[in-house]
Structure formats: structure tokens, C-alpha cells
Symmetry: C2
């Protein structure tokens, strides 16, 4: 039976007791409205750790002023049931006021990297992500924390923060889970109209084309990117935010594709901003 | 017998073993060149914890471009002996390259507060302090960490970081230790010429005057500050950096002095920048 933990204090108490018993802890940080991607992280954590904590917190500091904080989809009862079925032991559900009490002032930032890719159109986003993850790691003291690779930049930045700040947690990335037609699963896919939903898989279609070109020997980033943008342009519903080929080590753009190059896309489709990527 | 620990990896190993044995850990973060102020922190930590770690690291990220990083006084052999006598069990002495390897990018910042008082003339200083303390806390996992109140703003900022980021450490402040003539002990006092050294206690003399005025009912910050600056002006060797009466809770300037008001001074005296304060 999953336990819902409403406060950081109570969560710390439970974590402290688990630590005393030398039980390993896995953490799956989420903003809720679970899909198969979240559940795959929970199942893996449950298999690898004595206890699995799923945090469910729609973190305000990672949303910009005109973004979808207020309308971000929520369904706590459904999420509780799904997390339990996926093997989670605790669902940590703090409020904004608990996580950011009045007078809150402290932020963790991975400089440079937070301004690349998604950081261009979402300038405070990654500072919010690293700050809340730092807080969650201190509250939950996990041995391992699990992140999906759909948010590749998020994974790379959190892993960098952990290494730079000597944090005592292993960051474990997991493959993007997709719908049957290739669309990367995302809580934000519910924003799509039927027409937009039909166009959405073009992003993944473009990325798959890029992979094939690379496998056939093409290493010119410009040509590979053109193939992706041509594919996405098959629907006029998209508004491209960015399409970049970058080094996984530095997040800097590359002209020649190498093993480990990350090709990342963000595009607006109606009210949704979709992201996807491929690591070559 | 004190053990000198040269790497974060080795330090983490020792900390991990201590944690397994459920032994409490006290940390005294320092930049070395110990005086009685440092030693009072070590003695208290040694009395309150099963194991005491003293970190000795002249942290480059808290020094500005034209500051005294290169010439900061160092004497490792003397420090090792003094720390041992004060009851420290481990002296953690990492190098710059270990703490900030190539490509290092992550910083912790307490916004606003890092730009007040000392943050005006030292704009990157507190970002460096909070970042290195966050790293040291993750490496040493202390139950308690000890800081001297000469650096009152540093103590307040670190305590704020710990609360904001839900860190699992108690920050313990200790009274400033002074020379017989009232000068606050500081590793930087060695920079003073004989003449400057004779003038140096005027700062503390001014602060003591302020305390007496307050005890006699004076609450006008302007008048109390004027008395301090008049006292410091008895020597023309000083160049005042700042003199402020601020709230201990918000670090914002106050016009009327209340219990808990912090009066803080920084002044250049020859090559040294001296700081001191009083909490009323």
C-alpha cells in the first residue's frame, strides 16, 4: 500500500528511519499526470531499491510567466493508484508554500548549460529544475534518482549538478517511452487537438530519418538537421522553437556529427510545446 | 592523531564509514592559517560530535579578480598541529583542481542577500561561499557545522541556504574571538603594519560605543552609525567600505534599532580589509 506524504518534515522522518535500517532509496521526481514514461522509471526504481519515493510537485520555479503552470494537468487519485501499481512505496506531495516559503531566496544553477537549447526560450527553467532537484535530494536522500531521456538536457544538467556539487546520488537515465505512432509520451500531449495529435509524430519521424542518414554515413549536421526540419514542415501546424545538434559533453553545437551527438528538437503545436531528441 | 585527507573521494569513504557506525560528525570549514577563532569552533565541535572534520581550502570562487587569493597566508604544518590540539580528527585538504575540475559549472546562490553589505564590494564572494559550503556539506555530511560570527553575513547566508535547500545539517554560530585590545581575530591581520595594527581596534571601539548608546536608549541608526564612523575616523589610515545597521532577518537597512539589529562594518586598513559587527 502506497503512503501519501504531504510534508517535507514527515518525508525526512521516513527517510531517516529507512537510512537507520540501511535500506536503499530510489527517487522518481515528477510533476504528476503519469504516463508510461513515469511508470517505467518507478518500476525500475522499485526493482533496484528497497524503497521507492515518487515526488509529485508541479514546481513553480521552472515555469516562466507566460507558461502553463496553472493549467498543467493534474489527477492525484489516478496518479496515486498508478504509482502504487508501479511499485512505489511513498508519494511525496508537498505544496508550493512548503517548498518555497515566504522569503525563499536560494537557487542552484548550472551556468551556460541552463541557457542553451530549452534555456533560450525558457530562461529560468533549468535554474528551477536544478533547485527543486537539489531540495528533493536533500529531503529524500536517495541512493539513485531516475530521469527520462525525453528531457535529455534536463538529465544532462542534473547529472552535471550532482557531479559538480559532490552530491551522494546516482542519476539514472531511461529511454523515452513512445506512443504506437512514435510520439514521445508527455503529460502535455493532452493539450493537443485531434488534428495536432495526428501531426505530432512528425518530430519522431524526422529524428528517425536523421538516425538513418547517420547510419548511412552522413555526418554533416546541417544536412541532417535540414532533413528533420523538412519532415516537421510536412505539417504547417508546427512552430519550431529550436533544432540543434550538440555535443553531449558540452551542450555546444557541432558541425560534424560524432557518436554521442545529441540532436534535440522543441516545437510548439497548438497549446503544447513538444520536445524530443535522439542521441546518435 | 589527526589524519590529513587529501581528496574528496577518500573523505567520502571515511564519512561513509562513520555514518555506518552511526557516529555524529562536526565540520569546521576554514581557509586555514588558524587563530583562536578557528580553534574555538574546533573545540566546540570536538565536544559535541563523535568525529570532527576541519576542512582547509582557500576557496578560489569566493575571491574577486583583484583580491588576495594568491597571497592569502598559509601554514599547513602549523595548522595541522593546532587542529589536532583542538580535538580535530580529520584535516580535509583538497586542491583547487579536485574541487573545481575543468568544465566546472554549478553554483549555489542566495539571491539579494549575496549583494548586500560585503556583497557590494565583493560581488561574487557569497556565491563562492555558498557553493563551496554546499560541496563540503555533501562530501562531509556533517550533523553540525560551525561558523564564527565575525563573518555575520556569511553565517546568515549559509544558514539561509541550509533552510531553503532542506539540507541535513545544523549551522552553529559562535562568538567572535578577539585580541586583548579588542581587534577581531582574522587570518588577514598578518597583513597589517605595526602602525595599522595599532589603529585596528578602533573598529571594535566604535561598535562598543554603539552598544552603550543602544543600552542607554538610543535607537536612531543614523546617530549610532555616526558615533562609529567618528571613532574609526580617529585614524586616517582607514578607508571605510561600508557601515550599516540591518535587520538580522532580512539584511535590509533599518532606521530604528531593535533587538536583533546587526551593525556591520568593513574597512580597508593598508592591504587588509577588516570586518567586524555587533548584534544588538
Amino acid at each position: 500500500m502506497i503512503q501519501r506524504i504531504p510534508t517535507p518534515e514527515k518525508m525526512k522522518e521516513i527517510v531517516s528511519a529507512l537510512k537507520c535500517e540501511r535500506r536503499s532509496i530510489g527517487l522518481v521526481p515528477t510533476m504528476g499526470y503519469f504516463h508510461e514514461g513515469h511508470l517505467s522509471l518507478m518500476r525500475r526504481s522499485s526493482a533496484e531499491n528497497d524503497a521507492t519515493i515518487v515526488s509529485l510537485f508541479v514546481n513553480p520555479t521552472q515555469f516562466g510567466a507566460n507558461e502553463d503552470l496553472e493549467k498543467y494537468p493534474r489527477d492525484l487519485d489516478r496518479d496515486t493508484k498508478l504509482a502504487e501499481e508501479a511499485g512505489a512505496d511513498y508519494l511525496f506531495t508537498p505544496t508550493n508554500e512548503m517548498m518555497y516559503p515566504e522569503g525563499y531566496k536560494t537557487y542552484v544553477k548550472v551556468v551556460d548549460w541552463s541557457g542553451f537549447l530549452c534555456g533560450v526560450s525558457r530562461p529560468i527553467h533549468f535554474r528551477g529544475v536544478t533547485t527543486v532537484c537539489c531540495k528533493l535530494f536533500n529531503i529524500c536522500m536517495p541512493d539513485r534518482a531516475y530521469f527520462g531521456l525525453k528531457d535529455a538536457q534536463q538529465y544532462l544538467i542534473i547529472d552535471k549538478m550532482v557531479r559538480d556539487l559532490n552530491m551522494n546520488v546516482e542519476i539514472i537515465p531511461m529511454q523515452t517511452v513512445r506512443e504506437a505512432d512514435g510520439l514521445a509520451m508527455s503529460s502535455r500531449n493532452v493539450y493537443l487537438t485531434d488534428e495536432e495529435r495526428k501531426a505530432a509524430p512528425l518530430i519522431q519521424k524526422g529524428l528517425t530519418k536523421a538516425l538513418k542518414m547517420y547510419e548511412n554515413g552522413e555526418t554533416d549536421a546541417k544536412k541532417v538537421k535540414a532533413a528533420i526540419s523538412d519532415t516537421i514542415a510536412e505539417s504547417q501546424l508546427f512552430k519550431l522553437d529550436y533544432l540543434e545538434a550538440v555535443s553531449k559533453e558540452t551542450l555546444c553545437p557541432v558541425e560534424g556529427i560524432l557518436p554521442g551527438t545529441l540532436i534535440a528538437v522543441a516545437a510548439y503545436l497548438g497549446k503544447a510545446r513538444l520536445i524530443d531528441n535522439i542521441i546518435l
